[in-house]
Symmetry: C3
Subunit: 349 residues, 3 copies
Amino acid sequence: MRLYDLASTIGGKLLADDHDAQITGAASLEEAGNGDVTYLDSTKFIGLAEKTRATAVIVAESINIPGKNLITVENPKLGFARAIEALLPYLRPATGGGISSEAFIGEGVELGEDVGIAPSAHLESGVKIGDRTAIYPGVYLGRNVSVGSDCVLFPNAVVMDGCRIGARVTLHAGSVIGSDGFGYVTDSGRHHKIPQVGIVVIEDDVEIGANSTVDRATVGATVIGSGTKLDNLIQVAHNVKIGSGCLLASQVGIAGSSTLGDYVMFGGQVGVADHVSIGDRVMVGAQSGIAKDVQSGLVVSGSPTFAHRDWIRANLVFQRLPDVEKRLRALEKTLDGLKTDKDKSGEKT
Amino acid sequence: MRLYDLASTIGGKLLADDHDAQITGAASLEEAGNGDVTYLDSTKFIGLAEKTRATAVIVAESINIPGKNLITVENPKLGFARAIEALLPYLRPATGGGISSEAFIGEGVELGEDVGIAPSAHLESGVKIGDRTAIYPGVYLGRNVSVGSDCVLFPNAVVMDGCRIGARVTLHAGSVIGSDGFGYVTDSGRHHKIPQVGIVVIEDDVEIGANSTVDRATVGATVIGSGTKLDNLIQVAHNVKIGSGCLLASQVGIAGSSTLGDYVMFGGQVGVADHVSIGDRVMVGAQSGIAKDVQSGLVVSGSPTFAHRDWIRANLVFQRLPDVEKRLRALEKTLDGLKTDKDKSGEKT
Amino acid sequence: MRLYDLASTIGGKLLADDHDAQITGAASLEEAGNGDVTYLDSTKFIGLAEKTRATAVIVAESINIPGKNLITVENPKLGFARAIEALLPYLRPATGGGISSEAFIGEGVELGEDVGIAPSAHLESGVKIGDRTAIYPGVYLGRNVSVGSDCVLFPNAVVMDGCRIGARVTLHAGSVIGSDGFGYVTDSGRHHKIPQVGIVVIEDDVEIGANSTVDRATVGATVIGSGTKLDNLIQVAHNVKIGSGCLLASQVGIAGSSTLGDYVMFGGQVGVADHVSIGDRVMVGAQSGIAKDVQSGLVVSGSPTFAHRDWIRANLVFQRLPDVEKRLRALEKTLDGLKTDKDKSGEKT
């Protein structure tokens, strides 16, 4: 692709000597070579950008890198994403365009236009699938599951009975939607199962990572709001409600009935206790443990969590604790000496 | 269902003006509406119970809520579980009652009465399945695996060669039983695999969560005791022995050869080191890390763990550590001042 | 097997009264009985070794246990591994030796000699499989995936389009290789997906645990180096590079673009932030959180990490923090008293 064409494709302005340079790939500042386009989205890395071997760099309008072919855009990372789309073939689902005779299609299943159903996929009775949705091999859809249009369900994803999946949703390989919530009532030393008869509702534009699990509600619904993205190996327990536009990193676990507002961001391995309410735009550091409500807009860390800034400072002291205790002991000794002196001088008088 | 009939079904006493009220659903105190039954199991929530729009509330015998239809029982949560069972249809396994010709059934497989085997399930040679057990699509059972009666193996669950599953066991979707333990011996820079030739024994009434993994023993057996319930995404390593009636929350990991007694309870994301012994009825706070033996009956938290009560107090001070160090510094300064004064006054004398 | 024959099979020297003793099994010091061989690899357990009921004990050359049949070798654990191999049948893959007509084999698939492909396995177009590799049921291999010789892909393992797997690699059940990296660029409140068009490269002699996930690179490759072993439920994010000979315990998570050197060892549940570089032979304690670069050879713990030895000491003080604060308060009070005295005596003068 000509550099000039790439710039217009991604909606950028070209500042370059060679409008006809051929762009054949995309890569990071460090890894890019001749023929690649790269991007710079923080002035922190301007040194790397000056040394990159890329043929062109996507930058913000305020940035200049002397001697480099530049494409200026408002959001360089977004520009780069569009460049990847334009340059590198993102393989369309292998299953597009056909219903395999080796798939199991139960009674009363309704399929939209241009649906792809792979061999060994299994659709129970009453399943509804929207237009252009691709179902990979080994996918299981329980009774009366509905899946919207333009979804991709990767191999071995499982959606249990009655759950509802919106439009443009991606379920990555091995993810499980609608497994039973972990609910028991213990009586005379026996854990009786509380029937889990609710469902899971996944709204539009959600992505669920590989091998993540979302449990059905005891009664009612576990909800994942529109535009929310879950990374791999995440656990969402029964009756959890997650708002819109959240980004949760890998191995996060959210216990029963907790709620997240909109645009919440979690680092990896964060845990949330049950029945906790987390406001909008809350940011949580990796490995944190949330034990009680967090108000909108806060940035928290630690287990249990408190203000992220204070957590950083507390940790610095934590690492010095043996020294802190030593200093405390020294003070005690000095003070004991002073008191003895005082007592002695008291005795003298 | 008439309120009167519901009360007798769950074995409760009806205290209500309207014995004929229709009950059509079950929900929490907050979410319940007209026609729903709900429950109150802690006086903490009595305020919510007074405001609930539910048509009836299941309560303990000591509780009165003026103006509400009440069903009194000994254990309100158990009563509610029974009400859900009575009111809401819990879908029976989709696979009940038939052996699919699309399943793979190896040589010498023995199937009990009324077994259901779904398409694309795979039973290797020598597998034995008890009465009324349901095997969903994509389930794999290795050679000589035995599964008891009344079990449900949800889609894509995997049980490797030789493992033994008791009666009334549920394996949720994507769970893996009998994968190799993580055992290597390093010699001249190479990690040689120690053959993992043991099995996994899962006793009766166990539930294993979605995408959880239980490794086979190196030699002997990894054991999950009767009535124990494991949540999703849990790791149980080789040669671990878990007692009866334990409840382990999501994302717990237990390293090799460790043992848990009976009725142990773990919060989410707890980790246990290898070769550790944990007694009966031990309770462990979420995200804790157990590095050495824990005696029966203790409640512990932290990483590494100590008494939960002390952990809470230590955390409160942790959050104040920058202040603690500041106060320490102030003391040092004051004391330096005092000593200088004293030295000066000493010089004077 | 005769004890004499076992000793030669594992390359050891026999020190025994009864060269003809029959050895029929292998077990740990505690669990071994008559007919078993066991091993001792640390003098710490010599008491157990003296009491073991095993018929023979594999030991280092420097060890003597009076009254026991001994096989001496350089590395007793390695000797034990070889004894298990010799004594206990490790079941060969159930799928060896045949291409099932119930498997899906796409166009242009190339299969080596003696490959086993089980029913309901799915090989997309362009897949290449090396000699003697076994593909279990429910395995999915995307377009143009290559898998080397002597590999075992256990049930429901998934390898997405274009990924490359070396020789002698084991993918345990439910593992997912080549799922999309977690990459978005947020613009006007929408998270746009950055196309993940890179691949995963898994080098020779790697083992990937059950239900672990390895994401494909955004561009370029996520790499797992030769001889590295990953336990169950591990997350490896896009563009991560892991060196050779690493051992990572269960539930570890490594965020995007981070690198590990060779022979790195992680305890369970360790988390690594993105863009972090970890040197060779680094050892990391369980549940640690690595937020910045770690130099080769260091042993670290904590979240965030610091020297393991210092972390142990800091934790001891952490557990005493309420007492530390109490002592601090006592000092403040004493000092206040002293100052008051001094002020008073000052007033007097």
